[in-house]
Amino acid sequence: MKKVLETLKTATLLFVLCFSLQGFASSDEDQNLEVDTKDEVDAYIQHHIKDAHDFHLFSYTSNGERKHVGFPLPVIVWSSNGLATFMSSAFHHDDDGKVVVERNGSSFVKFHSKIYELNAGASQVEFDETHHATNADKVLDFSITKSVFGILLIGLFMLIAFSSLARQYKNKSIPTGFGRVLEPLVLYVRDEIARPNIGEKRYRQFTGYLLTVFFFIWILNLLGLTPFGFNVTGQIAVTAALAIFTLVIYTFSGNKDYWMHILWMPGVPVLIRPVLAVIELAGALVIKPFSLLVRLFANISAGHIVVMSLIAIMFTLKKSLGVVGATGLSLVLSFFITLIEVLVAFLQAYIFTMLSALFIGMAVAEHDHDHEHDTHGHDVPDAEDVRGDFI
């Protein structure tokens, strides 16, 4: 009975999740008929997958005036005149570089979620054909943006949830309540990701990082599916930072064998070794982290774009299918895609963590096995070498 109730709860949650996303979008679109052409939908989606400087829930038009519901977030920028801080409400929801904010003797404008500092004398930002500002410079933007807000939120949530789980172990060996949900996840990461990929000897040392990465990505991915419209793991700066963490960890924990295999590959003719070293170095320092960061970024961004595009069917196909047809089609498609996105949220977190563990495992692997040589003295590739080729 309890199990049924739990399942029902989960299903309801999923349902609410999917349809509130829908509701959010449609209320926005229906009430002010601003976004109803394909170009406008495109622009809206592009705007959504970018970071934002305020927490915007929805907008509506009443009495011909556009109203926004949400709250502003602090803007912290490093300009030519030093640090400048102000609330994002100073831009009055402008994202086209029209509203100029004066702080510390600098003028700031916001254009497509980016803050520019206007050059002296300029009153409006202007762009050339390649979308480079001609009379303004990008500033170093340390603002508490929506993504940073999400990171802080999830960081706090993780700290509270897992430290409470840790506290539970002081009194009892089997956790109760929410801890019972978290424990198998921790065990999963430890036993299915860290242990088999890094090896029994050294997995413990890296499990903390892997657990943090896994839950951070997974929860943020799931948060991205809520109607709050977070897109943290779809920010390339965030995935780049994560990938670089992995890069730093496996580069600095690599043992002698690892560097030997990169810089002076044993078992191949001497003349080929420098060539291989270049390839291996590029693989270890650039390709591996790049594949990590692009995979996560692209998957999550694509998911957001697909979900929003399917929701947009509601009004882009209104003319050809009618209101009921377009809404129904959009509802069904976006419902199932959202379900798939729930799976993708987990999958991407798993893949990122798994590959991180694999890279670390390759760096710390102990080659106590000598390569087997066949009758002609050539190396016989073993499973590990083959596995390396596929990554």
Partner: protein, 166 residues
């Protein structure tokens, strides 16, 4: 690629790096370390308990085997004791039979010897008595015969006549 680079926000990157570094350290200190060590402890506890249970089981088995062995031994011992007792009984019976036979034979022999000697004595006694009796009778007869002279002369005559015949 152009879009990727354009979308990359160095500020967000820096903020994310700092926050994530902090998150890793905090999580490791306050969550993962205690959780993982508790899990390890629990797992090793379970392992130990399982090993102890296994050991108890084998001990029990050994004990049972020992018991079985002891029972077997006791049974064998009882068997052998019974057998021995039976043998002893039989031996005793046969021994006493032997003894009785020997003793009886001996007594029989003694009795026979005694009977023989008694018989001999009796026969001798009878012989003596017969002799005495015959002498007494003969005396009386002679006395009777020779009580008068006529008879004595007659006897002498008969004796003499016998002598003549010879």
């Amino acid at each position: 690629m152009e879009i990727l680079i354009n979308d990359f926000s160095p500020g967000l990157f820096v903020v994310m790096t700092i926050l994530f570094l902090g998150l890793i350290f905090l999580m490791v200190k306050f969550a993962w370390k205690p959780i993982l060590s508790s899990l390890d402890e629990r797992e090793s506890g379970i392992k130990d308990a399982l090993a102890a249970a296994e050991k108890a089981r084998t001990d029990m088995q050994n004990l049972q085997a020992d018991n079985e062995k002891m029972l077997q031994e006791a049974r064998a011992e009882r068997e052998s004791m019974l057998k021995e007792a039976r043998e002893i009984k039989e031996k005793m019976i046969s021994d006493s039979k032997e003894l009785a036979k020997v003793e009886g034979d001996k007594m029989l022999k003694q009795a026979q010897v005694a009977i023989e000697s008694e018989k001999k004595a009796a026969v001798a006694d009878i012989k003596n008595q017969v002799a005495e009796l015959s002498v007494a009778i003969a005396e009386k007869v002679i006395k009777e015969e020779l009580s008068n002279s006529e008879k004595q002369l007659k006897l002498v005559d008969s004796l003499l006549s016998d002598l003549k015949l010879n």
